[in-house]
Amino acid sequence: MIVLASAGPVIPVFGGAPSSYACERANRLFCPDWVSQNWSNVLWPALRQHVVLSVVAVVIGFVIAFALALLAYRRRAVERPIILISGILYTIPSLALFEILVPIKALGLSVRTAEVALVSYTLLILFRNIVTGLRNVPDDVREAARGMGMTARQSLWRVELPLALPSIIAGVRIATVTVIALGTVASYICDQGLGVPIFQAIQDGVFKTELIVAGGLAVALALFADGLLVLLQRALTPWSRARAR
């Protein structure tokens, strides 16, 4: 009785085609058959959702952080309050933040809630890197831009922002990797992304294949996005690699 009772629930039921049954039953860590059978109905949709979840969070976070950074660049007084607030948002444990947001009527158990939480984690990183990049533009360069008759706006878009790009993109890289990692936790409230199979595996208790594959996919996605951003930076800042001949 005891054996049956304990053996029954631990065998996952979804996607359990007969061919992989043996592997699952043997309770090995990794069942390649399970992966190939569940790729199109479980893993691929989760991965796609995860990409959307992350991209939306980083884009919205960037737009907000960029506006705040320009404000702080012009008016130093607002820099500290912004860092303080975004710093508090950054340090709230992610699960706690989700719990705080869910009771809010407009959010509830939805993708919106997940996005609000993810965006709040990008703000501090992006804001700091954009402001630092702008502040690190050499004074003589800013002076030359102004002295040659650029307006403040022309100097910002033609000189200061291009020179801040390496720092800005560095911020986007950290924010992206952070969001991809945290996005798995977001599944706790919105049933989207690579967190779904991971939570499933945790609930199942014994079967670990989907946890390993989904986690691995999250890591691979983070590395891939990071590499893509490195390539973007190289394309946008060819001058940063130019050295004396």
Binding site: E143, A144, G147, M148, G149, L163, R245
Partner: protein, 367 residues
Amino acid sequence: MPESDTARSEGSSGFAPAAPLELRHVTKRYPGQSSPAIDDLSLEVPAGEVCVLVGPSGSGKTTAMRLINRMIELTSGDIILGGSSVLERRPDELRREIGYVIQQIGLFPHQSVGENIATVPRLLGWDKARIARRSDELLELVGLDPEEMRGRYPAQLSGGQRQRVGVARALAADPPLMLMDEPFGAIDPINRERLQDEFLRLQATVRKTVVFVTHDIDEAIKMGDRIAILREGGVLAQYAPPAELLSRPADDFVAQFVGADRGLKRLALTTLGDVDLIQPNGLAPSGRRVPLASTVRDALSMILTAGGQPLTVVDDDDHVAGLVTLELVGGLLGTDGALDGALDGARDGGDGSDGASGAAGEGGRSS
């Protein structure tokens, strides 16, 4: 001014190659400071001349320069460029018509040499072909090969090359006025001298009105048609051509600032061609040879290193023009009359018959 034809033909955006500049009772007072940074400064710079602002730190020379293109706003007074007040212009539009070179140069690291030079023409909306032509022309003007240089980034240039690009960028839109703030300050002495000479050659071609800031009195004497010496508190101590500054310093401050060796500096303004050399009178010329274009100061130095022996002066074709001796040089300096006569002659357009021919100021810098 036929030399400036190229600059003029490209610079057809509506302003003259050079414009006179006048500062009228300019005062700059920073809030919360008891004494002004610039105190009632008045000076006129004729079109096409180089005015050097020189003085110790705290004399406000850079402040005075930055008032002209309104990087700093003046408190009272007026600045007239080419007949109209700079205060009536929009600052950014005004600055596009004033070349600006600073010590750190401030090339844009993310732009190629060509793009850097194109900065102001782009702001003025020139078409691409015209900008490209202009940029190549300017690179050649400052002695850089356009093919090799236009695509490079500032990080790939030497200090001297960066300086040249900085000057080319400032000249790009053919501004009637150039402001240069210690442009050679960060360059090693040997290259600095070369850049100074190059700039003087360039200036002989483009004939811009130039306001040049330096703390180095030797550079001021070399570069300036006129020198304005400022003392602490932004007060004008003396405004005069270099030769006059050296021969007749207005007060002890100026005398001290130009240095105890101002006699030697005066000799540096005069070439051997400007003085009456001793004729060999049939004697076989001996001793070391020195070109006619050398300064009297260099000749003196050579005489001293040769143990006091006279030098043979030769012209471009290696013909003997005369001899120069220690006594001759001593006579020029000692009896004050000889050299001053030459300098006065140069200023009044006189015949210079009293010991040396005129144009010491011009002659000294045409080499």
